[in-house]
């Protein structure tokens, strides 16, 4: 940051009337936590003819980081009034709502940002899920993950949390269907097969669970010993314990 600080200062000295340079400097000061100085640069950029929408966005971002979410929201609202298509700002407003203490509104904005944003990310989807889980809305959280995956793709960082939620809700077949869908996206993955076994186990389908555990173990064992690092050793131990436990339960029934 010191490096950036010095560099943006130099650039600004070269072109003091360029609003873009002031915005860049504001961003750096924001990163340094120098909120007042950052806002001053934003106002200077405004005086030099900077784009009001961009400046509103930067102001909102600074206010958010500085702990003034209500002011951030006001800025975002202003820009959105002019640019209702600026979906990226919806996410910022969602953050503001969250900081204000209105998670319902935050969830709404997060959902809209993900639905309308040009390139939503798994991180945004997870943030949306977290807000809904915080509200105790597991079904809505699951829908949020699905809506996110409709935009982002059926990626592991979203599908596995969805599996966890399905299991919590007792929807084992749905969880298994998700794991099948995930499995179709990549070569056989022992982590995912193991998870499938655990879901089956939880669903009381011992024989099928054992088959999955065995499949995952076979996949690990197929790797040369030297290629089995700690994650594989740990997984193998977990699988062997799960397998033994499932077998024990099977025998005692």
């Amino acid at each position: 940051l010191d490096e950036l600080d010095a560099a943006t200062r130099q650039e600004l000295a070269k072109r003091p009337d360029d609003p873009q340079r002031h915005i860049e400097r504001a961003r750096v000061l924001q990163m340094k936590g120098e909120w007042d100085a950052a806002l001053e640069e934003v106002e200077t950029a405004a005086a030099r003819g900077g784009d009001p929408d961009v400046l509103g966005q930067v102001r909102a971002s600074i206010y958010l980081d500085a702990g003034f979410p209500r002011m951030a929201k006001v800025e975002v609202d202003r820009v959105l009034a002019r640019r209702p298509d600026a979906a990226g700002l919806l996410y910022e407003r969602g953050r503001a709502w969250l900081a204000i203490g209105n998670p319902e509104a935050a969830a709404r904005d997060f959902g809209d940002a993900i639905a309308k944003g040009p390139r939503p990310t798994p991180e945004q989807v997870i943030a949306h899920r977290d807000v809904l889980l915080g509200l105790g809305k597991k079904d809505a959280a699951l829908r949020a993950l699905d809506d996110g995956m409709a935009r982002v793709g059926h990626v592991v960082s979203l599908e596995l949390p969805a599996v966890d939620l399905e299991v919590e809700l007792g929807r084992y077949d749905a969880a298994l269907a998700r794991l099948d869908r995930l499995a179709a996206t990549a070569p056989p993955n022992p982590l995912w097969i193991a998870r499938r076994g655990e879901v089956l186990d939880k669903a009381g389908r011992g024989a099928q669970a054992r088959a999955e555990y065995a499949k995952a173990l076979a996949l690990i064992d197929a790797r040369p010993a030297a290629r089995r690092g700690k994650p594989f050793v740990d997984l193998k131990r977990r699988l062997e314990m799960a397998l033994a436990s499932a077998e024990h339960r099977g025998e005692s029934r």
Binding site: T121, P122, Q124, V155
Partner: protein
């Protein structure tokens, strides 16, 4: 002439005449540049000053571009996936509109598709970090690579390690520092990048907004191999026998072993079966660059604490970073996740420099990634300037205050990385060699001795098969042997006229090696290394009884095809220095299907 029109776009065109008029005045102002190469596809991108339809025409030679890939929507940012291609194949191309080509259809516009995934096809990577300042230094770094590369910029992969365009990663700055600067390379060599802290000023990784995300097309759903991440901020891809992992060390730096990037990384690592794993991100886990101390910068600390254990546990081979404007290169490391002060020799898997012309390559026993078997960490951040700093991080073996880039060649089981300075000098190099088999042919120029004996007994029960060899009557200089207890890797190999009979490499260290009077001894009751039970080297002159002795038995020796074809050569090699001691048996006393005895004289 074949034409492929991208699905769903056909109905958009209303006036072909209007398009043709636009196309006539259209100029390519960025690119073409190549993205996300796979065995069967390539994404071709370019920018025009005016909207036009998009066409990529490809063929086996200039003047023979018979296959078109069209998109009819008028745009200025053209992104055309070229599909249905053959692996490891050279294609010439042009870009333009449906009315005609703007550029290309000449010897300067071509690309090669990725080799078959998993194949040991040799390939080259050129990588630069923090190369965002335009000017003479960046020009020199670029031009020295071209000279080194045989007078052409074209290579197989171009990796950007972040901070690719100073000062703030704007589109205009990218135009100057990347697209104009490297135009020749970009039109022939696919480019991948990682997100740096200067990109973060104009682009947001959390929302994937800004110029960085507008201008690149990286694989997000496993299109080029690996597990899909859902984001261009972090992703993976396969190229030949290498799995590449690109991470985000900015806003997605994990603060624990959790979160979307970490969840994805775990699954991606569990799925890969590639021979090599190379990871890249911007902020280095070990550095003492000016302004950037990996002990105090939180992102660096967290990448080291949370990401490195995951990568090392699956045997990552090489990690490339930038951020500090200098070159730093680590020892062959494993398991160091603390601050610099806590670094000790215990974290070094090899005490040497890894330089094939120095004290020898780093070695891994298996071709595939072996858990916690050592990795080299590189700070390749002097692509366009260098800054004075102490470079005193104890994890690093080399620190250079000069501009430059890295050239990485991967040839099957061997990775060779070189730091090419802006002055065109190789100022550092290291090599990682995988596998422990003998070289396919005997080494030449070895020390010979007046006495030698080789015996082989093959048994119907392979566990009882055995062989032994002794070299005696020559001189063994202690300096030539090195120190297998500490850092010298050795091999004992036996060949006949048709190839390798048995033997293999034995790496340094471990409990099996010990120092003896005037030499070293390896003893292993488990016979884990190619069946070697004993290897003994006594240095000195013939009068002092210098000798080399090797004994092996069991299934680990393999199933050598006897009778052997003379001449038979047995060798002991110091793999690090290339020094060797050899017995050549031109005749045999016995040479049958189950036994062999050969003696010198």
């Amino acid at each position: 002439m074949k034409t492929r029109i991208r699905a769903g776009l056909v109905g958009v065109v209303t006036s072909m005449t209007a398009l043709a008029t636009v196309a006539a005045a259209t100029t390519v102002v960025r690119g073409p540049y190549l993205q996300t190469p796979t065995t069967a596809s390539m994404i071709v991108r370019w920018r025009t000053d005016l909207p036009s339809s998009s066409r990529v025409a490809i063929g086996p030679a200039p003047g023979s571009l018979a296959t078109n890939y069209d998109s009819l929507v008028p745009v200025t940012e053209h992104v055309v996936p070229v599909t249905g291609l053959t692996p490891d194949t050279l294609y010439y191309y042009s870009v333009g509109s449906i009315s005609g080509a703007f550029v290309g259809d000449d010897v300067d516009h071509f690309f090669r598709t990725a080799p078959t995934t998993g194949a040991s096809t040799p390939f080259r990577i050129w990588t630069i970090g923090d190369a965002g300042f335009t000017g003479a230094d960046l020009d020199a770094v670029r031009d020295t690579f071209k000279a080194y590369n045989g007078g052409t910029s074209a290579t197989d992969l171009f990796l950007l390690l972040g901070d690719n365009a100073y000062l703030t990663g704007t589109d205009m700055q990218y135009q100057a520092a990347v697209y104009d600067e490297h135009a020749e390379m970009l039109r022939t060599t696919p480019v991948y990048s990682t997100f740096g802290n200067h990109e973060r000023i104009s682009s947001q990784d959390l929302a994937q907004t800004g110029p960085y995300y507008d201008m690149f097309s990286f694989p997000t759903l496993g299109e080029a191999g690996g597990v899909g991440s859902g984001t261009e901020s972090y992703y993976s891809f396969d190229y030949a026998n290498v799995h590449f992992i690109v991470l985000d060390s900015e806003d997605f730096t994990p603060s624990s072993a959790s979160g979307p990037m970490f969840t994805w990384l775990q699954s991606d690592l569990a799925a890969t079966t590639a021979d090599w794993v190379i990871a890249l991100w911007h902020r280095p886990p070990y550095s003492r660059g000016l302004f950037h101390n990996s002990d105090t910068e939180l992102n660096e600390v967290r990448m080291r604490q949370f990401v490195l254990p995951a990568l090392e546990s699956v045997g990552v081979d090489l990690v490339l970073c930038g951020h500090s404007h200098n070159y730093e290169r680590s020892f062959f490391l494993d398991g160091h996740y603390g601050n610099g002060a806590s670094f000790t020799n215990a974290f070094k898997k090899d005490l040497g420099d890894g330089d094939p012309t120095g004290d020898g390559a780093y070695r891994k026993a298996d071709l595939g990634p072996i858990a916690n078997s050592g990795a080299v960490y590189v700070v390749d951040g002097s692509g366009s300037e260098h800054r004075n700093a102490t470079l005193a991080h104890p994890a690093h073996l080399v620190g250079l205050l000069e501009t430059g880039s890295m050239v990485i060649d991967i040839t099957g089981n061997t990775l060779t990385a070189q730091f090419l300075s802006g002055a065109g000098v190789i100022d550092d190099q290291f090599q990682i060699v995988k596998g422990s088999s003998c070289a396919p042919t005997p080494a030449s120029g070895c020390n010979t001795a007046v006495r030698g004996k080789l015996t082989v007994r093959e048994n119907a029960d392979p566990a009882r098969s055995r062989w032994s060899w002794k070299w005696k009557g020559g001189t063994i200089d202690a300096a030539d042997v090195g120190d297998p207890t500490a850092e010298t890797d050795v091999a004992v190999c036996v060949y006949d006229a048709t190839g390798t009979l048995f033997g293999g490499q034995v790496f340094h260290g471990g409990v099996a090696w010990r120092t003896i009077k005037r030499g070293f001894e390896y003893r292993d009751k488990t016979l884990a290394n190619h069946g070697f039970q004993k290897i003994k080297i006594r240095t000195g002159t013939p009068s002092l009884g210098a000798y080399v002795q090797a004994k092996a038995k069991g299934v680990g020796i393999g199933n050598p095809a006897l009778p052997a074809t003379t001449p038979i050569t047995a060798q002991f090699l110091n793999l690090d220095s290339g020094k060797c001691w050899s017995s050549e048996f031109t005749t045999t006393r016995r040479n049958q299907a189950d036994r062999l005895t050969a003696v010198i004289p």
